[in-house]
């Protein structure tokens, strides 16, 4: 199996209103999930419904517009810690409801990001109302005891060891993000800095919960075998009964200044089996970009590093080039400007310098000479095809809308995405490279092998 590096371009979801023509893709005819609709409850909670009647199953998700970037000073990791504690219980359901979900044959999970926290179940459609009852209950009535909190903190610390401390690439990643996102909360890892996570308390978790877990800060997304009317009735009976608990402050955060300096991060570790290099810039996200700008960056990421027909792959990996693998990615769905990254693994005997020079040459070529119409068309078609194939999965569909709405976009923004991608010109892509990928700014990260001190390993 080839191991493509997972890239996080937003694959939007579409239904082909017309067959995709070979010669000239007509993006304007493609609308994303035209059967998706949205409304708001009286208490301000947003609801998105995406019917898909192929199987008698629903995906029920609640997205909170809050994540690690909204934590208070010294409390990194509390958003993710609270996500774990949300499974503990409420006054009405002291042991949580995982056992019920399991008993009904459902699957559940949750995830925390910088900008959002989401909880979901996938379950037979007849249990949707029950899931809403539970989820609404824990939105308002979480009850935590000290012993549970202490044990869960141990679990989170083990999770941190598993994800970060045993993984040199993740260790570098933390320094890389901290150096790139200067003066922005994106500098801190989602799972938290070790000392701060270790010191988290029940009070810290409850305080964060009381600040952000409230219906007007939440988005309900239901995809699957339902109608809008069914969802509306159930949502009004459950979430609609909740009072808003908080006076929400706008998500105003300190911003990374436009630093015209190139910063370098090095991490050497005897555990590194394979050196690698990463390069990053802070670029506008869909929420902060000028019209058309984020779409152009999406296409740029595809042209530069979107698979084996991309510029970087062609110039660095094929024909004995300096890299064995390469990728570009764009964190496009974020409240604040976020990362455009390039990642490369040097071939044996190739220095970081040589690898860097090659990456810079590829970027310079796009910035100075632009791209061909053929490349442009291929990149667009590829982005759109991702979306066409994504519509096979109700879960992916629910995530696409939840992610967009939690990071400042609207349902319409998502639905009209293909037309906006279609409008990107070769010039726009060239301009994006010139504007957003300056070679004398951003961060370079090196992961290298350290010679182990004299002991057996």
């Amino acid at each position: 199996m080839k191991a493509p590096i997972a890239l996080s371009t937003v694959a939007a979801l579409l239904f082909a209103a017309a067959p995709v023509a070979q010669a000239e893709t007509s993006f304007a005819d493609l609308e994303i999930a035209p059967n998706a609709s949205s409304f708001s409850l009286d208490n301000g909670m947003e609801v998105v419904v995406i019917p898909d009647h192929r199987a008698p199953v629903v995906t029920h998700m609640v997205w909170y517009r809050t994540g690690a970037a909204d934590e208070g000073p010294g409390e990194s990791g509390v958003a993710h810690f609270l996500e774990h504690l949300m499974f503990k219980g409420t006054e009405a359901h002291p042991d949580g409801f995982s056992d019920v979900v399991t008993a009904l044959g459902g699957q559940e999970n949750a995830f925390t990001s910088q900008d959002y926290t989401a909880y979901y179940q996938q379950i037979a459609k007849e249990h949707l109302g029950r899931m809403m009852t539970f989820e609404a209950d824990r939105m308002a009535n979480l009850a935590l005891d000290e012993d549970e909190v202490a044990r869960e903190l141990d679990v989170v610390l083990e999770e941190r060891r598993m994800r970060v401390d045993t993984n040199p690439s993740a260790i570098l990643g933390e320094s890389f993000d901290a150096t790139l996102h200067v003066n922005s909360p994106y500098a801190d890892p989602i799972i938290g800095w070790p000392d701060e996570v270790s010191a988290l308390s029940r009070e810290a978790a409850i305080s964060y919960y009381d600040r952000f877990y409230t219906p007007e800060n939440a988005i309900l997304v239901v995809a699957g075998d339902v109608t809008v009317d069914e969802v509306r009735a159930l949502a009004e009976d459950t979430y609609g009964q909740l009072e808003s608990r908080v006076d929400l402050a706008p998500r105003t955060r300190s911003q990374t200044p436009d630093l015209t300096s190139l910063r370098t991060v090095r991490y050497a570790d005897p555990r590194v089996g394979q050196p690698s290099l990463r390069r990053g810039w802070v670029v506008p996200s869909y929420a902060t970009a000028e019209p058309g700008e984020a779409e152009a960056i999406d296409v740029l990421a595809q042209v530069l590093g979107g698979g084996s027909t991309s510029r970087l792959y062609d110039e660095l990996v094929r024909d004995g080039g300096p890299a064995t693998s390469v990728a570009a990615w764009y964190q496009s769905s974020a409240v604040d400007p976020d990362t455009f990254g390039v990642y490369a693994v040097p071939r044996d005997g190739v220095s970081f310098d040589a690898l860097e020079t090659a990456i810079e040459a590829s970027i310079t070529d796009v910035a100075e000479n632009g791209i061909s119409e053929e490349e442009l068309e291929r990149a667009k078609r590829s982005l759109v095809a991702d979306a066409l194939f994504a519509q096979d999965s109700q879960q992916r569909l629910a995530r696409i809308f939840g992610l967009a709405l939690a990071t400042g976009q609207t349902v319409e923004d998502v639905q009209e995405w293909p037309a906006r991608i279609g409008a990107v010109t070769a010039e726009d892509v060239q301009k994006a490279a010139q504007t957003h990928l300056p070679l004398d700014a951003g961060v370079i990260g090196y992961l290298e092998k350290a010679e182990a001190p004299g002991k057996d390993s």
């Binding site: 999970n109 064995t324 999965s393």
Partner: protein, 444 residues
């Protein structure tokens, strides 16, 4: 994988040294799933589920028995390298041209190999599936194996092997396989070693393909916006040029070695644990009771006994799981976790105690009814997409469970009695101690 930009997801990652077998395939009888057997003029058979909801066609296929077990004894990694090269130049197209064709025609084509078999996955838009089929035909019958892509993929795989050598979980899985199957292909790493991958030549790839890809070990499932009449000639186009019969080396059936304890030192802040012993064959009449038992013990939900004891009660680990892996020539009951070095002994002791307790007592009536409710209720969730349906049906076809299995499966689970589970638990867990591997810091 780059870390640091993916969501932190609260879940058990089931990464073991073995591909986790599709547990117990299948869809809800409540979903209207109509499987249509299709035979092409040239005699290629496939299972078709026609569904026009989404304008996409998914084809999944496999060459049974043509997995890593067929690698030359001195060169593990051939099947894996082959799976990266079929789309790197074929017929009139060199590597880059082939990849360009795939992109321009909006076709997704990928290959994968497991220990036992070789798999293909084709996704295409419904308006012209013939284009994807033509590229698949070329990949299967006229791959180039040009020097440049071979070197490129070789370098990429070796780079991954080096990374895994420093990953305690990956090392623990490899060591477990090596210890459990010392004189068998199952003991060798599927992706090979740095040395073996370096030694693979074009002739190895050609020989593997020639011996392994044939019509008599082919399984095909198609799901999506296509009807039988359209599909029939396409099956001949894709697979008709393959040889009639595969020429596979016999592989011995084998039992995993039990009772070994292996400790490897690695300077990491957390110890990875992998354990495993004999399981049950998929065709064993007690497999389903054992499957229910495994679910109760450590089957990957937040309600299993091990999750409760290790994570919820004591905070010892983020992830703990067990699994049943019925492979073609062996069967495993195994599991894993990862914990702070100074808590490994306690964690392993609890796992052993829980295994012993399940072997002696079996589950409670309440646990059994909860497990049945979950397993039967979770059934339709696997069928929420064309990809999901195709994966399930392919494994049902390969396990020879029959086209009606989809409708029968929940009844089989429902019929399991507590006595059945007790017997299965005693049989699977009550024998020799599993072989346990720990990889982590010394002197904890």
């Amino acid at each position: 994988m780059l870390s640091g930009f993916s969501d932190r997801i609260r879940s058990c990652l089931l990464a073991t040294g073995f591909t986790l077998a599709a547990s117990l395939g299948a869809a809800s009888s409540s979903a209207a799933l109509t499987i249509e057997p299709v035979t092409s003029p040239g005699g290629i058979t496939a299972w078709l589920v026609e569904d026009d909801t989404v304008p996409v066609v998914v084809m999944k296929f496999a060459f049974e028995g043509a997995g890593a077990v067929q690698d030359p004894e001195d060169k593990p990694g051939v099947a894996n390298l082959l799976s990266t090269l079929l789309d790197e130049g074929a017929g009139p197209y060199d590597s880059e041209a082939f990849q360009t064709e795939l992109q321009d025609r909006s076709v997704r084509l990928s290959f994968d190999s497991s220990r036992d078999s070789f798999y293909g996955d084709l996704e295409m838009l419904a308006d012209d599936p013939g284009q994807g089929i033509e590229l698949l035909r070329l990949a299967l019958t006229e791959p180039h194996f040009d020097a440049e892509p071979i070197e490129r993929m070789r370098a990429q795989i070796i780079s991954g092997i080096r990374r895994d050598q420093r990953d305690p979980s990956a090392v623990a899985s490899d060591v477990w396989s090596r210890t459990a199957y010392p004189d068998h292909p199952y003991g060798r790493p599927s992706e090979g070693t740095e040395e073996s991958v370096a030694a693979i030549e074009k002739s190895d790839l050609e020989a593997f393909k020639t011996a392994g890809f044939a019509r008599d070990n082919l399984h095909v499932v198609v799901v999506g916006a296509i009807d039988a009449e359209t599909l029939k000639p396409l099956l001949d186009d894709a697979f008709g040029d393959l040889p009639e019969t595969a020429d596979l080396k016999p592989v011995a059936d084998v039992m995993p070695v039990t009772g070994q304890t292996v400790t490897e030192t690695m300077d990491v802040p957390q110890t990875a644990v992998r354990f495993g012993g004999p399981g049950l064959a998929r065709s064993d009449p007690e497999f389903i009771p054992a499957f229910v038992m495994n679910h109760i013990l450590g089957g990957g939900t937040f309600s299993s006994r091990l999750f409760e004891e290790i994570r919820e009660k004591r905070g010892l680990a983020y992830s703990v799981y067990t699994y049943l892996a019925p492979l073609d020539h062996t069967a495993i009951f195994g599991g894993g976790t990862a914990t702070r070095a100074d808590r490994v002994d306690e964690t392993v002791r609890i796992i052993r105690e829980e295994i012993a307790r399940m072997a002696e007592e079996g589950p409670t009536e309440e646990e059994l009814s909860e497990a049945k409710a979950y397993l039967t209720g979770a059934y339709p969730l696997r069928f929420d997409s064309s990809n999901g349906i195709a994966s399930q049906l392919l494994s049902i076809q390969m396990e020879d469970l029959g086209m009606n299995y989809v409708d029968e499966r929940n009844g089989l689970i429902e019929a399991v009695t507590i006595e059945d589970v007790r017997q299965a638990a005693e049989r699977v867990l009550g024998g020799d101690a599993p072989t346990i591997v720990t990889v982590g810091p010394s002197g904890a």
